[in-house]
């Protein structure tokens, strides 16, 4: 049986028109500008940049406006847009140690060179709704102090110096890119980190939480969390040397994890790592916990069968665009598929009823 799939164009057009009208909302109220979203919904913009895998605050703000605030839809728009851009190349790895941090805290050492800098944080707020914000016109001003100009080295470098941290492996100069080559298992750490940094914040958060609740426990401490801008440098083929092409705001989280040693490694501290576009610290902490959980094999640890230790499970399910694409397609017409289901059930029922009657 063949079911007509034409028609519906006028209904679709009308639906899109209505969508546009609903997006605008009450025209008695002023329209939101993209710049307003960029400045005042900055953390939503950051999330769309991180999961959309494109650092461009104006475009992310536009996507949020177009998507009526549906952030996954906005991420989808950004992902679609980025595929249209020619790629000029890859940057040199960013040097987060050279960051002038807006925020920098360590949960492992009280006194660290450069100090504990709280930055513009929600921490220590009382999570009480601030009804003053319902009235407009406030322009709060932050207080200032004289910077000390001290260097802000990575906290884990201090442990590294004492030989208590696992050594880092240098890796390949050009890392694998899952936006160009399909994800294959087993996936090395660079590929896993790329998947996690663009993964859905809610999914990565839940996976990280599951490790804290005992499903693949890794005893994580936040060695350091820092947020700030870092310059991005790229080698220009026609010049033959690297120049700075801009700067991006990043959130970096390094966890220190207890490690009692394995057959191949002595007892030492191990690392989990999170690095995310924008000010996205929940995501960066989550990423570092999941990164560490996924490292069980290379560290010679036991696989306890926890979901967060299963690279295939985590990496194939963390992308919200892949997930939503597959999930939401089931609402689209499946008339032919379902027709065959219907016929099958009718036949099975007829057979079953026939057998019952025959038995009687």
């Amino acid at each position: 049986m063949y079911v007509a799939v034409k028609g519906g164009e006028r209904a679709i057009e009308a639906a899109h028109e209505w969508l546009a009208e609903e997006r605008r909302g009450d025209t008695a109220l002023p329209e939101l500008s993209v710049a307003q979203i960029r400045e005042q919904m900055a953390l939503a913009v950051n999330r769309v940049m991180a999961e959309g895998s494109l650092y461009d605050p104006d475009l992310a703000a536009l996507a949020i406006k177009q998507a009526r605030g549906d952030l996954i839809e906005a991420v989808f728009l950004i992902r679609a847009y980025r595929t249209t851009l020619p790629r000029f190349g890859g940057s040199e790895p960013v040097d987060t140690g050279a960051m002038l941090p807006d925020r920098r805290i360590s949960a492992t050492f009280k006194d660290v060179p450069g100090g504990q800098i709280l930055g513009p944080t929600f921490d220590y707020t009382h999570r009480l709704l601030d009804f003053k914000l319902m009235a407009e016109g406030e322009a709060p001003v932050a207080r200032r102090a004289e910077p000390r100009g001290e260097p802000c080295p990575h906290v884990l470098a201090l442990l590294d110096r004492d030989g208590l941290m696992e050594p880092q492996t240098p890796g390949e100069a050009v890392p694998p890119d899952l936006t160009r080559e399909p994800l294959e298992m087993p996936a090395g750490r660079p590929l896993r980190l790329q998947a996690l940094t663009r993964g859905d914040e809610g999914f990565v958060l839940s996976m990280a939480y599951s490790t804290q609740r005992g499903y693949g426990r890794t005893h994580a401490f936040v060695g350091e969390l820092r947020i700030g801008r870092v310059p991005v440098e790229m080698e220009i083929p026609e010049l033959g040397f690297a120049v700075e092409i801009g700067a991006v705001e990043l959130t970096e989280c390094e966890t220190v994890n207890q490690f009692t040693g394995s057959k191949s490694e002595p007892p030492q501290f191990t690392r989990g790592y999170g690095l995310v576009f924008g000010q996205s610290e929940r995501k960066a902490i989550s990423m570092s916990l999941v990164d560490r959980a996924l490292r069980w094999e290379e560290l010679g640890e036991e696989n306890s069968g926890a979901p967060a230790q299963d690279a295939e499970f985590v990496l194939y399910h963390c992308d919200n665009i892949q997930a939503t694409g597959f999930l939401e397609h089931i609402k689209l017409p499946h008339y032919v598929d379902f027709q065959s289901e219907l016929e099958l059930i009718r036949r099975l029922r007829a057979e079953a009823l026939g057998q019952r009657e025959a038995a009687q």
Partner: protein, 190 residues
Amino acid sequence: MSQDHVLTGGFAAPPQEAARAFRAALEAMARPGRVQMLRGAEPPEPLSVAAGTLLLTLCDTTTPVHLAPSHDTAAVRGWIAFHCGAPVVPAEEAAFAVGRWDALQPVTRFAIGTADYPDRSATLIVETEGMAPPNATLTGPGIELSHPARLPEIAAFQANRAGFPLGFDCYLCVGPEVIGLPRSTIVEAL
């Protein structure tokens, strides 16, 4: 090195010209042996217009290019660096290779893909002397009956076909003219 040849000769209107050239390049591979025109690039000698246009259309920083000795000049290297950004690499690592047929030898060095990923193979952009007179007959996918062609050699293309679905693919260029010779084409001497 004079920058004149290096920094000029790209597409004047990249989106339109690249789209047109890409269409012609697809057409060439889809209909092996049938001549297509590729214009837009003004590359430095000894690159032909067709070869230069293919490089502008198909190559970027993620497609390593091998330059055969016939084409490994400072001007060609500089032109590719500026207009494509593609790294220049040894034959074994190349996604694309450019040169005269004799300079590309031995072609057994080029990637032919793997059983899982036959697409991880090289595409050879071969500069030739001309499209006539024909010395070979082409048959196979994309050819209704058979098609005459002028090839620089017969045996190498027969050997390449024998490894199908693995193998390299070729564009043969002269001036602005190009024909495609994919690995699927069966080549017989005329």
